[in-house]
Subunit: 209 residues, 4 copies
Amino acid sequence: MEKKMSRPKDSASRILNAADELFGELGYDAVSISDVARKAQVNKALVFYYYSSKAELFEQVIERYYAAHAAVLAAVARRPMSVRQRLHDMLDAYFRFMATNWRYPRLIQQQVSSNGPHLESIQRNLAMLFESIRVPLEDLAVQRPETSARQFFVTFSGMVINYFTYAPVLSAMWGTDPLAEAELAARRSHLHWVLDGMLDKLDRESAQS
Amino acid sequence: MEKKMSRPKDSASRILNAADELFGELGYDAVSISDVARKAQVNKALVFYYYSSKAELFEQVIERYYAAHAAVLAAVARRPMSVRQRLHDMLDAYFRFMATNWRYPRLIQQQVSSNGPHLESIQRNLAMLFESIRVPLEDLAVQRPETSARQFFVTFSGMVINYFTYAPVLSAMWGTDPLAEAELAARRSHLHWVLDGMLDKLDRESAQS
Amino acid sequence: MEKKMSRPKDSASRILNAADELFGELGYDAVSISDVARKAQVNKALVFYYYSSKAELFEQVIERYYAAHAAVLAAVARRPMSVRQRLHDMLDAYFRFMATNWRYPRLIQQQVSSNGPHLESIQRNLAMLFESIRVPLEDLAVQRPETSARQFFVTFSGMVINYFTYAPVLSAMWGTDPLAEAELAARRSHLHWVLDGMLDKLDRESAQS
Amino acid sequence: MEKKMSRPKDSASRILNAADELFGELGYDAVSISDVARKAQVNKALVFYYYSSKAELFEQVIERYYAAHAAVLAAVARRPMSVRQRLHDMLDAYFRFMATNWRYPRLIQQQVSSNGPHLESIQRNLAMLFESIRVPLEDLAVQRPETSARQFFVTFSGMVINYFTYAPVLSAMWGTDPLAEAELAARRSHLHWVLDGMLDKLDRESAQS
DNA sequence: GATGAATGAGCGTTCATTCAT
DNA sequence: AATGAATGAACGCTCATTCAT
């Protein structure tokens, strides 16, 4: 007799993927373990066999994103280049990563906007991200209150993240899919345009002073 | 004789305020009607006496914000001025409103990032907001993909909203309260600086073409 | 200024009528005091002003039917006539009363079939009804087990009552309204036909013995 | 080692039986899931593990009766015999089934007399029952308004059903248990006596015409 | 006589989690 | 590794009833 035909991926990762999709779409609270088990086509108790609790399951979902995210950042940081180019590169890498993993920013927003129990790990991740942008920015210009690295950090992450968080709403508003290739390209060029605008202004200001 | 020992505000609005604070802090799903009743110091059943369901209570909370928000926008729209000035004014009004009602952007983010059941009314509100920014922007410049009103809309709302959504996290990261006067001032000046950068760039580009 | 224009009937009886209709249609448990108040167009608390509890309100509803029912029975009993004629008369009066007050048998059936809290008063009423049929029947024939007054009592009340209890179901089954004149007439003639059949049989049996 | 201290019947059927008894005695609305769970000696949540809702639990209870009832009817229909004998047989089977499953008619009466949410399935069942009696009756005699199959159907079901519905009341009235063997026998002989009376009358009438 | 506000108790239902197998 | 059964706690909500005015 055959050993109950197991699916392409083993149960543990099928559960993780199901959790990823459901949490990302509906939010932590709106998803029950039963939902996850059903989607993963496994027994409900098996979820607890692999992940000790619902909270831990969620943690694993974002942990996987953190790792991938960190890898992308590291790859960019490794390349030597001008500051201006570096910032464009980082923005691009950030945007591309989010476009590919669009449920990730949604998961983060859910937690942040409701003081979820996973804020701490999000904080750690965010601090790392901030560090990677702070250095080039501080090289670039004097830190005035309106041009501090902190402000740019919030501005750029907001510009990128919110595009994906709001994707479903924008889609309904404008009748186009914000995740389609053409729309992504438009957004990306806009972001670079904005970045250029800022760098130009910084240049002009430092020239002037 | 005393006026029947009731608190400064009547039960209905005490409930609404409690709901506002709790939903804004913890998110719709994480807040139970018991929590709201306890915070409002009323009987749980009384919540249903005034608001027919938890969903309706939430609706009322955001409806109140919508009304205030629309009033602010209308006030700005009424003033005649240059396009550049108008955009600065609108940004300023938007930011100030969010700073005063910082739970409002959090409530919206919660719903949007988890496809909550109130997306529809959020959409309506967002469409209105978009309309009020679209006209001045389209006056300003040719609509290229990277400088379309849509892109600016997402960019500015992201820049503003996320500052408040992330306030708790930033507070922990930087050890300063993002909602304190000094920090708000810094953010506000940054936003105007960014807007100026963009407008300058648009000017230069239209001069050049 | 006018004294809040009161409706054709005063509040107390409007409440009673509303309760009658709702209880009769939906059953005691399925009807809330709010429902009654809404239907009677009075304030919910006013129901308790006139009727001390939901149970008492129900009691008053059936009490009103009892009184009317007793009056009808008494009227029939008063007329001197042959036994056979008396039984036909009683059956007729019973049926006509139920046809006019078709919610009454439904109310009774609800209580009886769910051991409701009003069984006792129902019992009293039923005993009275039984007494009024027992005497003529016992005059008529020897009481064998299969022809005892008790059996006839159950048989006739079942034949009459169930027609009304089942009216909604029969209506759907047969596509005709059992409470329409034509249908009532058919039922009534059937009941007399059955009664005649029984009396004939009793006659033949007593002739034979 | 013991087989995991579970009662003679497994939880699912213990719940179903408890529901049967409680619904039959007190009525759908007067019985809470807690009551059922307590009687079945299981956890309240387990009721929902086996039956998705209170309504479905009730449905299962009557469904079980339907199946048994249909089986009995089918068994009778299979036997070839004279029309008169067939009607006696059907009446007998009907009565015996009700005597054995006396909570069944009560459940039906509850629903019918309060327009309960399960009327539809009751209607289907009743239509089937009607069909099984219609054919032999229509063979028997011309259909006059007072001797139509419909009338006989209501008459006989009323005569049988109400005996059981009223059992608790009759018991209190007469001081004898209507479900005791002797009383059942009396009722049964009465029913056959009535049927004979009707058949005789039909015979006489068709002879005469 | 009439009403709006308030409340305690309970209901049907869901869910994360446990456990024996 | 996998599962069906079981459970305690909580949740949103309803309702009969009370009470001050």
